[in-house]
Each structure stands twice: as structure tokens, then as C-alpha cells.
Subunit: 246 residues, 2 copies
DNA sequence: TACCGCAACTGGTCCAGACAACCATACGAC
DNA sequence: GTCGTATGGTTGTCTGGACCAGTTGCGGTA
């Protein structure tokens, strides 16, 4: 059985990406092994070399493949960060870690933006934003406290939603067609204060990871400013860094 | 004055990248503004559209530009993470933060790899690696304790180097031609223990950020496994995440 | 045997052009 | 005035070549 790459709603380079991904997932092409050369791939799937190169380039940027000039293209060794580096909300993050996500809504309201929030969302101080504060659970245990401020035309409709059951990022993407596309995040180590310690069920003074995140949708429009704290003993953050090319 | 793009040792797409970078750095093209269309750029610099597209695509991946189909390509808003996300050693990291880096060597020795180190560097347990433990300073104040284990053919020559003055990553790149190309890192919040607290000049039980990093050079060959602790009150980690395309 | 150079591969760069998808605007019909 | 449509701009996808640069193995030569 040979998959083939056809013209249609999905671009050819994307179809080839999926085929390569599947070969790797299935183990047919194992980590460290050489994949077919670019010229071989174009011939096999009836596409031009530039198109095949686009597929390989994007997968290499994701860390799934790496190239060596003069030798060939290899399957990368699996990275812990690979599944955890993508921009996701808490729900997807927990699933990638093979834990069961949960949420308890602490507050959900329209709330006048303070200075820090207004600056990051590029709105005026005092403009109402949808503010959601949730205790986040992993396998039914408290893991984090997450405070999201959302600002877009009609965001007050979020008040009607059940955010204990639904994923905020899922709603944004599917219901409101404002998919989170990019985020900038900062992390620092801190100690749990009184109220935070109570919610996370740890002692006051326990280590916590504090994060601040600005999330943008298409057109580089910021829609969310989220601050979270994570239990230091139960959460690790993974990342991958690359050197500038050339 | 018009820069021009010529054939030569540097590829044309790279020359155009640098020209665009310079336009942005100088403020000639300001954040949020539209840059010339792809067709205009190829004509102006005498290159083909595919080549111009490669320049723009790479700059967009770095977050410096963003595209909107049907409208054009825009200059991205400056991101804190932009300068801090690249794979760098402590020295470069501090310079990007506009702080003066410093180092005090605690130990520098050949050391038999323990299990965790051997697995990450893909060598045998007990194989000697160059192990460097340094107190890292920012503006002459203690900021971090960094322990690097380096493994490559001839790494024992590092014993002769002065690692209080020189940057480890600088040496690896320039002297040994093994530039760090990619790293995978994990971060967690913890509390300073006895010895650590003393070195960092903080109280026992103060918050610290603990990191573990595996650094690879070309050919995806791991060369460094580094564990560090940073003072929680003086160090923030910045990162940027993007949604999968399509 | 030891070395060198060539040939046959690999990925890296580049071209000129084509059509599709999408977006803004202007213009006409209703 | 409002709604569709035409139009000319943008980026997105794709072709089928071309040559360059790095790697490897093979065969011939010293």
C-alpha cells in the first residue's frame, strides 16, 4: 500500500508531513535512522523537490528530523520537550503528560483591567475583561491556580460557559474562532503565600513556579493575559532552544 | 543608498535577512508596519520570489515578522523573549539582560560519569567527562551555581583553560569547533539547601529555580549536561510558544 | 600499503513562472 | 443606501529544472 499525495483541500507538503509523521509514530522509521532522500521522496509521491523540502524543513524545525548536508536526513531522537513545548492550555498540557486534567472555578466575572493587564492586552485601563480564576487539578489533585484575563469583541459571552467542564483554549478556538497561535511566557521560582498555599494544599513557604503568559491569536492580536502558580513539587516546565542559523 | 544582494560566499536569502533585520533595528520599519511585498523585494534586490520568501519565512519563524494572507507582511512587536530565547550560555544570557557576567570556578576536573549524566550524553557509566562547577555572578552578585559535564574527543584539554575569564560556549564554538546548536531544558521551583544557600548568599529555604539542560552540537551529538540553580528573587526565565501550523 | 582523485550520492541555494486563496476597494444594480 | 461583483493587490502552494557544497566509496597510482 502506497499513500499518495493528491491535489485537494490539503496542500501536498502538508500531506507529506503527515505521512512522514506517521512513519515515525509507527516506528517504521526509527530514531537515528536515515529517511529516504529528498529526490527519492519527490519521485515516490509524485511531487516536486521544493515541495518535499518544505515538508522536511518544517518537521526539522519541530525537531522531529535533522539534516546533514552530503549525508541525508535522519529521524531525531524523541525529546521530552517535543510534546510539551507546543502552545497549549492546561487541559492539553496535562493530556500530553498523561494526567487527567480538572478544574474548579473560583471566580468568573467581567472585571476592569488593571494597568499590567491593560498594557499586555493593548487596551485601556479599566476596560472590562473576562476574568476567570480556576484551581487546576491533575488526577484530581490540586496542581495550579490559574488566572486568565480575556479580551475580545463579545468576550462577555464566556460568562455563560461552564469552564469546569470545558477547556478555555478549546472554546476560544472552536466556538469563537480565535485560536491561540502564539504566546510569550515568563517563569520564576517563588514561595507559596497564605491563600495560595491553602488552595494548592501545601504548607506556606513551599516552592511554587509562578508564570505569566500573554497569548495572541491571528494577526498578532493579544487576547489573554494569564498568571498562574504551580506546585513546585509536582510540575516541571520543559523547553527547547536552538542556535540562530548561520 | 541601496544595498544589493550579490552571489558570493553568503547566500542571497541570508543577505536579505540581514538587510531586513537592519531596517527593523534602525527603526526604519517600525513594529506593526507593513513591509514591502514579496514581489517588490525580489524586484528591488534582483532575486527570485522563492528566495525572498525564504528570508521572510525564517524571520517570521523567529518572531520578527508575521504574515497575513491577502494583506502583506508586518513587523512583529518586540518580544522580551526574543533576545532571551536563543540557545546561549550564561555569559551571553547575562549580556542580553544587560548585566555583567562573572564566574568563580569551584571545581574543574575529569570525573567519571554517573548514571544520569551517562544516559543524557549517550556514553557509558564511569567514562571520564570534563566537569566544571562555577558560581555565576551578575554585576558581581551571586546569581547561580552551574555544573556542566562535557564529553567529546579531547575534552580533557579544557582543564588547561581559564574558565573564570572565558565563556564555555565561546570556547566550544571557536576553539573546538563544536558549537552548541540545540538544547532541551527542564525547569522547576525548589528551595535552597544548605551549601547552595551559602554560595548564593541567601537563607536556607529561599526559592530557587533548578534547571537541567542537555546541549547538542551538529549531528545531534550531545556534548553537555548541565544542572544549575538560580536565585529565585533575581532570575526570570522567558520563553515563546507557537501553535502547530495547520 | 598508503594516498589521491573521481564519481555518485546527499542536502543547500536559486530561478522564472504558474495558479489558488484571500483581502480591500470601487463600482454598478437594485 | 445596500448588496453583490469585478478588480487588482497580497501571500500560499507548486513545478521542473539548474548548479553548488559536503560526504562516501572505489579504483588507480605512487
Amino acid at each position: 500500500m502506497v499513500e499518495s499525495v493528491k491535489s485537494g483541500p490539503l496542500p501536498r507538503y502538508y500531506q507529506l508531513k503527515e505521512i512522514i509523521r506517521e512513519r515515525i509514530r509507527s516506528g517504521e522509521w526509527s530514531p537515528g535512522s536515515l529517511i529516504p532522500s529528498e529526490r527519492e521522496l519527490c519521485e515516490r509521491y509524485g511531487i516536486s523537490r521544493m515541495t518535499a523540502r518544505q515538508s522536511i524543513t518544517e518537521l526539522a524545525n519541530e525537531g522531529l528530523l535533522y539534516r546533514e548536508q552530503g549525508k541525508g536526513t535522519y529521524v531525531g531522537r524523541p525529546k521530552i520537550a517535543q510534546q510539551l513545548l507546543r502552545l497549549t492550555g492546561f487541559t492539553e498540557d496535562m493530556r500530553a503528560r498523561e494526567q487527567r486534567p480538572g478544574a474548579k472555578v473560583l471566580t468568573a466575572e467581567m472585571w476592569p483591567a488593571d494597568e499590567a493587564t491593560a498594557e499586555r492586552l493593548r487596551i485601556k485601563v479599566g476596560q472590562p475583561v473576562y476574568r476567570l480564576r480556576r484551581l487546576r487539578l491533575a488526577d484530581s489533585e490540586p496542581l495550579a491556580v490559574e488566572t486568565s484575563c480575556i479580551s475580545f469583541m463579545g468576550c462577555e459571552r464566556l460568562l455563560e460557559k461552564d469552564l469546569e467542564r470545558d477547556s478555555l483554549y478549546g472554546l476560544l478556538e472552536i466556538v469563537y474562532d480565535m485560536p491561540p497561535m502564539e504566546a510569550e511566557q515568563e517563569l520564576e521560582a517563588d514561595l507559596a503565600r497564605d491563600e495560595e498555599a491553602g488552595l494548592l494544599e501545601v504548607e506556606v513557604g513551599s516552592p511554587i513556579l509562578r508564570t505569566r503568559r500573554v497569548t495572541a491569536t491571528r494577526r498578532n492580536q493579544p487576547i489573554e493575559y494569564a498568571t498562574s502558580i504551580y506546585r513546585g513539587d509536582k510540575y516541571r516546565f520543559y523547553t527547547r532552544m536552538v542556535r540562530d542559523q548561520r
